[in-house]
């Protein structure tokens, strides 16, 4: 993967175990500059403080969902171009369509494997 591995990445999920899993998988690929948020509001606060080059987020969070976060990111002039990958158990076609409509860069359904994550990262970061 011919991509800069030191890019700052924000991962968002209300399950700490999933944050840990994604962090470890990213680390194996070579990405180590990773921040975490356990809810979308905290993620938005981090996004307003720092420039991230990739966001990986769950959808089903409360009170603000990953879809709300995506819309907030795309509505903000400073961060609207940030690649955003949704990683979620929501797997109905209408979910994918709605996320795409909101501007998602790519969409991974849980459960996923390391190869899928790597492929989606390559696709998003090379674009």
């Amino acid at each position: 993967m011919g991509i800069r591995k030191n890019i700052p990445i924000l991962i968002v999920d209300d399950y700490k175990t999933m944050l840990r899993i994604i962090r470890n998988l990213l680390k194996q690929i070579g990405f180590e500059n990773i921040d975490e948020a356990t809810d979308a509001s905290a993620a938005l606060a981090l996004l307003r403080e720092r420039d991230y080059e990739l966001i990986i987020s769950d959808w089903n969070m409360e009170p603000m969902t990953g879809l709300d976060l995506l819309r907030a990111v795309r509505d903000d002039d400073r961060m609207k171009g940030t690649p955003f990958i949704m990683v979620t158990a929501e797997s109905k076609p209408e979910n994918v369509v709605e996320a795409k409509r909101a501007g998602v860069s790519n969409y991974i359904v849980k459960p996923f494997n390391a190869e899928t994550l790597k492929a989606k990262l390559a696709s998003v970061l090379a674009a």
């Binding site: 399950y15 680390k27 009170p63 158990a89 797997s91 359904v109 390391a114």
Partner: protein, 199 residues
């Protein structure tokens, strides 16, 4: 003890008194209709007696809290176990870093990557259990409503599951059943189709 509201709406004795008043009213009420209403009153009385005997107030006060506590315990235990597995994998990854770049390290990292991804089960089981708990709480609310309608005051209710998310509620379904869920390939096709439509 029956509430006033219940007496107005469901009391079979009131039905019987109504029938008697109508019959006394110079025989104005059709006999067949009166018999039908009397049969309904009898049926209602029987249903209320049976309902009291099942003690439905225990559903909200005891059965559902027990079930939700057990399910919460499952989530807690699986989270702990998953944490232990991740600890071990992280230790393995740290140890393999000392091997330097090579096929042995690549093989070990591939194996730990499979374990990391598999540990995602804990997230999905947690979401499925949350759906079950939500269903139990809906059942509890319905049972409480029936108890109140029949004048059986519940001893306790489950804590409200909270308001559903205000936005995009219909999109929040959690993990689908295996034969209903889209595969990653199917998701990719939907995304590609939307990209073509946008071009």
């Amino acid at each position: 003890m029956q509430s006033t509201e219940t007496q107005r709406s469901l009391c079979p004795d009131r039905l019987q008194r109504t029938i008697s008043r109508l019959e006394d009213d110079g025989g104005a009420l059709d006999k067949a209709l009166a018999d039908e209403i009397a049969a309904l009153a009898k049926e209602l009385r029987l249903s209320m007696r049976e309902l009291r005997q099942t003690d439905p107030t225990r559903i909200g006060a005891e059965f559902i809290p027990t079930a939700t506590d057990e399910l919460d315990a499952i989530v807690e235990v699986t989270a702990k176990a998953t944490g232990t597995i991740l600890d071990a994998c992280e230790d393995i990854d740290s140890a393999t870093a000392a091997l330097g770049v090579g096929p042995e390290r690549a093989a070990v990292e591939a194996a730990t990557a499979r374990i990391y991804a598999a540990c995602g089960f804990q997230d999905l089981t947690g979401q499925r259990i949350a759906k079950v708990v939500d269903t139990l709480r809906r059942i509890d609310r319905r049972v409480n409503a029936v108890c109140k309608a029949f004048g059986l005051e519940p001893e306790g209710e489950c804590a409200d599951a909270g308001d559903d998310m205000a936005r995009d509620q219909s999109l929040l379904n959690g993990p689908s059943l295996p034969d209903e869920a889209m595969t990653q390939n199917e998701v990719d096709k939907v995304l590609a189709k939307k990209d073509r439509e946008a071009d």
